[in-house]
Amino acid sequence: MPLSSRHLLGLQGVPKEDIQLILDTATTFREVLERPIKKVPTLQGKTICNLFFENSTRTRLSFELAQKRLSADTINFTKSGSSASKGETFKDTVKNIEAMKVDMIVVRHESSGVPHYLTRISNANIINAGDGRHEHPTQALLDMYSIRERLGKIDGLKVCIVGDIAHSRVALSNIYGLISLGAKVSLCGPATMIPKDIQRLGVTITHNIDEAIANNDVLNVLRIQLERKAGTNIPTLREYHNYFGITSERIKKNNPDVLILHPGPINRGVELSSEVADGPFQIILDQVTNGVAIRMAVLYLLGTRP
């Protein structure tokens, strides 16, 4: 059974069966990654372009590795900032890359909607590797994979996404995916970091981190963007840590069984204390390994889709 779409633009509206298919396929590739020879010939002859308009070494490396493990040919295009200010327009850049006969494009951009726009100007399969504050579907998929790997299921779990929801691309994808697989999703963060009317997606909101830890099986803790102008959403990072940071004392006091995820890179002493970042509650490095398997699964399913 193939995926229902030839692109992966986000998890909004993606059928549950598709998400499950990706997670199940990733299980197979996860096993490949444990072999001495970690390479399969599945996407031999396919050319994939990683089109990164924003710095994101981790995501790009993860995609690149997944492509190499599947024996695809990879080209990288990295450019930051507005295309308008750099002479060549985004459309011209894409048309140029398209002329090199690429089969798939993995795209990262600071503007929401760029992957959707790409589907209108390119014939390649488009994979969204993060657009603005919109979606980052492979991150959510690897988060769900990691939860399922650790807790055996998603259905019925209580998952809280903690932090700057409004400026995150990870939050929305997680909300869509988790709800679709039957989890109960809540959000925890300062009121200034919760976007308008997000409850309408079927999530609940708390501003109390102790409650969030106590009432959930999983906390997916988002990175606080240090580069955001100080004082606009939160007074100081220190105040953030004091009232929303996850510490081992808080975990021990409220819920020693809670599982901590973090998409990385971590700001130690801000959203997580160092002790938590290195401690037994978290699965942050598993997420990184699983990320390669998830991206292999997505590339494989889209690249071999009839």
Binding site: S82, A84, T89, S112, G113, L172
Partner: protein, 429 residues
Amino acid sequence: MKSLFKGLNLLDPEQNLNLQADLLIEDGIIKSIGDINQKEIQDCEVFDFTGMYCVPGLFDMHVHLREPGREDEETVQTGCNAAAAGGFTGVACMPNTSPAIDSAEVINLILGKAKNHLVDVFPVGAVTSGRKGEGLAPIFELVEAGAVAFSDDGTVVKTSSILRSAMEYCLMFGSTIIEHCEDESMADGAMNESFTSTQLGLPSIPTIAEDIIVARDILVAEYTGGKIHIAHISSKKSVELVREAKKKGIKVTCEVTPHHFSLNDEYVKNFDTNYKMNPPLRTQADVEAMIEGLKDGTIDCIASDHAPHSIEEKEMEFIYAPNGIIGLETQLALVISELYLKKHLTLPQIVEKLSINPRKILGLNIPKISEGENANLTIFDPAKIWTIDINQFKSKSRNSPFDKKLVTGKSIAVINKGKMYFENSFRLV
């Protein structure tokens, strides 16, 4: 030169005229109205316009003609052609050109370019020099040169103190300040703030960014006794503020664009930059408030905010793309399709909002359908069904979200200054 128009429905709400009759125009003057036998008139061109409506020439008080500065996007000439094709005999053009309309030279340049065109062009002068929000533009000089109102459109008049000065200064001429209402400290976004912006992850502009400035401007108008006109009103709360202010007798008027009474922010969902404008498309509740405001008279007029942009600039990542769409050639059809056919407004009300009121706000002469008057007329067919095609536009630009939309209502001809635009060409009447 004599032209006879047969079978028109003459509609002029200012004179309580609603009459089926023929119209004879001679050298640009309305010669006679009534049952005219063409055999009795020699050397006369005859147009059978049976069933068409003939109204005082339509007027769009908010267009961007882009000249001087961005002649690649629009010129006075192409903008006027678009106006004529869309059924307009007059436009007021906004001062955010390059250089801005903040000197008599720029006004003279624009008026010079427009001089021989059928469409009347009335420049709006900048409130502040270079539209920078710092010092007043030479308003006296601009009035003398022909500015009909003042605005820093594209941006808000930055401080309350300069707005107050401008309003007081304008009291000397009775000129209106046209305000682009946007609190810049809250307006760093690409769409309206709502559940939709949350779902799309786009940086957003809350309606209060508009409301706060509308409230400020009403207070300044009340205090100074000056006249304020709210451009492209889009938020429900702002309409309420204007409604209350009018009740108190404050001199405030406002306009709405066709996109703000016909589209809501859910249209942004496919990230098509032709749905990116400023103010942004709002929620359905706001759209309904626009229609309510039009019905009860809170909203005085309809204007397109015709904002041409090149394809290269508009075909861009959503957050970088410029704001605005062109509207001169779609406006009448959207008004008829969305307001007349849906029974929100009658044709006389539409004529008020598209012809009479904008001229009143700017203090211009109002054309009359009456013997001996200059013929300044729009003839349109409110029942004509057609499909909008951006490639047929006379405008130099193509940025419209209404391409391929099936609409009802079309301008057939416009007449002004002894000229007529009909079937894609100009001729004398």
